[in-house]
């Protein structure tokens, strides 16, 4: 018997028991739907995380010094000569660390594979004033230059690739507040006012190189970043010197950033840093990405596992459906055998029927998942963009679809083995005599 005829006969048999077939297919489609949707959600999450993190450079390391007494319980004795120990947030995580000295930071710059080192200057500014404009505006935060490509984030002007100490990049909030188009701001001079170590007001002039779009994603809902300015590392070092020289905290840093010559140097530089002091803790963007992905994968696997259980239950439905079919069609099986249909083809016929049920269930589940994907992504598109998640909440990929369809086909085939074997083993004469 040709495969085409086998499939046609299988479909005809399934049509014959419509209600039973529909119920079994429905059970499978629910499992397939849940599984595809879970994978689609996971894809969207991963894609969102990747796009957020792609804006950051991947060849930077952050180095902190773990506090010596971190394992101690209770409170340590005060030592005025010791380097300060402080609690801080490093890349979103709380840590108790010992501050780094200038000598320690300078030592990192000598390591082979290191391009540049700059500490966390922890500087602040009071106000920003457009030259010729009487009004002054608050500066919420100062960022130092990034080495990653920020061109996608620019509203106007450029993000300098080779920063000078007098260049500045403003956040979109300033152009919104000033009521001046972003492109008109580029090239203008601004005055940044801050306090020196003796709390005396100091002003410094900068030229606007560009305007950054309103931040989205992780930073989008942080009001403190509204008044954000970005300056060069050199400018930050100069302000730091003015603000902290002569204070007790001068030349003590919570952490330092180490820029690698190439991402390939990460491993050797990490080793060289920890060789200097085993208490140095080195983290990079890849660590964060890896941690986020581990969490995402764990959630995905857990959800996929639940869908798998639903599919397993549905597989028993296939076994039941096919067993009933064998009992009901005993005479037909006897006749086909009497007319010369080989046992292997009888087995194949029932396997084909089981696989058809599986593929039908998978198809319906996948189509439903695609419908939900289109609905959710269309309905919530703007909201998703606004919160910086990306443009898709669900992202079903072709491999997802193929894996689910193939997996369900295989599961159905396995579920159909027992009934198919039962059919294959029937004796033609006994089967024909069956009442």
């Amino acid at each position: 018997m040709r495969t085409r005829d086998l499939v046609r006969r299988g479909m005809r048999n399934l049509r014959r028991n419509k209600s039973r077939t529909v119920l079994t297919v429905l059970a499978l489609s629910i499992g397939a739907f849940t599984l595809v949707l879970t994978l689609g959600l996971s894809n969207a999450l991963k894609s969102s995380v990747n796009s957020q993190l792609s804006l950051a450079t991947n060849n930077e390391l952050t180095v902190t010094l773990a506090a010596e007494n971190k394992a101690q319980t209770g409170v340590a004795e005060y030592n005025p000569k010791a380097t300060a120990v402080t609690s801080t947030q490093i890349r979103g995580e709380g840590a108790t660390i010992q501050l780094l000295t200038k000598e320690q930071v300078d030592a990192f710059a000598k390591i082979s594979g290191v391009q540049r080192v700059w500490p966390n200057y922890n500087i602040s500014a009071k106000y920003l004033q457009l030259e010729g404009n009487a009004k002054k505006y608050v500066v919420d935060n100062i960022d130092v230059q990034s080495y990653s490509d920020q061109s996608k984030n620019m509203l106007a002007g450029t993000y300098p690739s080779n920063w000078s100490a007098t260049e500045i990049v403003l956040s979109q909030s300033y152009t919104d507040t000033l009521g001046v188009p972003a492109s008109d701001l580029v090239g203008k001079t601004v005055i940044v006012g801050y306090l020196d170590a003796k709390a005396k007001s100091v002003e410094q002039k900068f030229t606007i190189a560009g305007v950054l779009k309103k931040p989205t994603g992780f930073r989008g809902d942080q009001p403190a970043t509204a008044g954000l300015i970005t300056i060069s590392i050199d400018a930050a070092a100069k302000i730091y010197d003015t603000q902290f020289n002569g204070t007790r905290d001068f030349n003590q840093y919570a952490y330092t950033t180490v820029l690698l010559q190439s991402p390939n140097d990460e491993s050797s530089v990490r080793d060289a840093i920890t060789a200097l002091n085993k208490n140095y803790s080195v983290s990079s963007l890849s660590d964060i990405i890896s941690r986020i992905k581990t969490v995402l994968n764990s959630v995905t696997y857990a959800l996929a596992g639940f869908s798998g259980i639903a599919l397993l239950a549905a597989a028993f439905g296939i076994i039941n459906t096919q067993l009933m079919s064998v009992f009901e069609r005993t005479k037909e099986i006897g006749l086909l055998k009497a007319l010369g249909m080989p046992n292997s083809k009888i087995r194949n016929l029932f396997s084909v029927e089981a696989i058809l049920i599986g593929l039908l269930g998978a198809s319906i589940g996948i189509i439903l998942a695609f419908a939900v994907e289109i609905f959710v992504n269309t309905t919530f598109r703007q909201k998703l963009i606004d919160i910086g998640f990306g443009s898709h909440a669900i992202l079903i990929s072709l491999p997802n679809v193929l894996i689910v369809a193939a997996g369900l086909g295989l599961l159905s085939f396995i579920a159909g083995v027992f009934p198919a074997r039962k059919a294959q083993k029937l004796d033609p004469i006994q089967a024909l005599r069956e009442e």
Binding site: M1, R2, D5, R9, R12, R16, K331, E332, G334, L335, L336, A338, L339, G340, M341, P342, N343, K345, P428, I429, L432
Partner: protein
């Protein structure tokens, strides 16, 4: 030629065993017709099943055209059932949810023949039931069903046609028609015809006869039959 050599068939084991055939032997010339007669339980159907490749005898051999049937591999026996023989059953065994055409095409479908509609229509025409080709078989009368069954049996142009009580479920008028068709096929196509029946009137029309009792041949007649 069909050659049956000392075949016996025992069902079950030990005390519960039952001997349906007891050392039956005969030879039938190719193209002949044969009626196997006997009362219920005499072993008629068991003998026919052994000849048709449906039920393996416990001992002895069946040769078709000089080739032993039951020493063949299962695949070859399947091919024999599909290509060498045709079956007509008392209970028809038609697929009630399928059309007449679909039912008739089954042997060729199993054989893997692609273009089978023309052959199916030709078989239906021969049995004068072509106009019912697209009807579901459950809507047919008993006589029509048996003609469909006959069309299904001859579509593969078998060398031997086996019929088990082919008129058992039919009224006398329809029976006559079916009997006439069976002999027409035997004569026109040269198909060897082996019919199991306990219908004396039908048996009288056969040139060769075997009467079975308790699994043994108790009488026989016919020029093309050798015991």
């Amino acid at each position: 030629m069909i050659k049956v050599d000392n075949i016996s068939k025992v069902y079950g084991e030990d005390a519960a065993s039952f001997q349906a055939l007891h050392e039956v032997s005969f030879e039938l010339t190719k193209g002949a017709n044969l009626a196997i007669l006997g009362k219920s339980g005499s072993g008629k159907s068991t003998l026919m099943h052994a000849l048709a490749g449906l039920d393996r005898p416990t001992s002895g051999s069946v040769s078709i055209n000089g080739k032993d049937l039951w020493s063949r591999k299962q695949k070859e026996i399947d091919v024999y059932r599909n290509q060498m023989v045709g079956f007509v059953f008392q209970d028809f065994y038609l697929q009630n949810e399928e059309t007449v055409l679909e039912n008739v095409m089954v042997p060729l479908e199993i054989r893997g023949v692609g273009d089978r509609k023309q052959k199916a229509y030709a078989a239906l025409e021969r049995l004068e039931i072509k106009d019912k080709a697209d009807n579901l078989t459950r809507h047919l009368s008993g006589g029509e069903k048996q003609r469909v069954c006959l069309a299904r049996a001859i579509i593969g142009q078998p060398e031997i046609l086996f019929a088990d009580e082919p008129t058992g479920n039919l009224d006398s008028k329809t029976s006559e028609k079916v009997e006439a068709l069976l002999f027409k096929l035997n004569k026109e196509l040269g198909t060897t015809l082996v019919v199991v029946t306990h219908n004396e009137d039908l048996a009288r029309r056969f040139a060769n006869k075997i009467v079975l009792k308790d699994g043994q041949i108790i009488s026989h007649e016919g020029k093309e039959l050798t015991i």
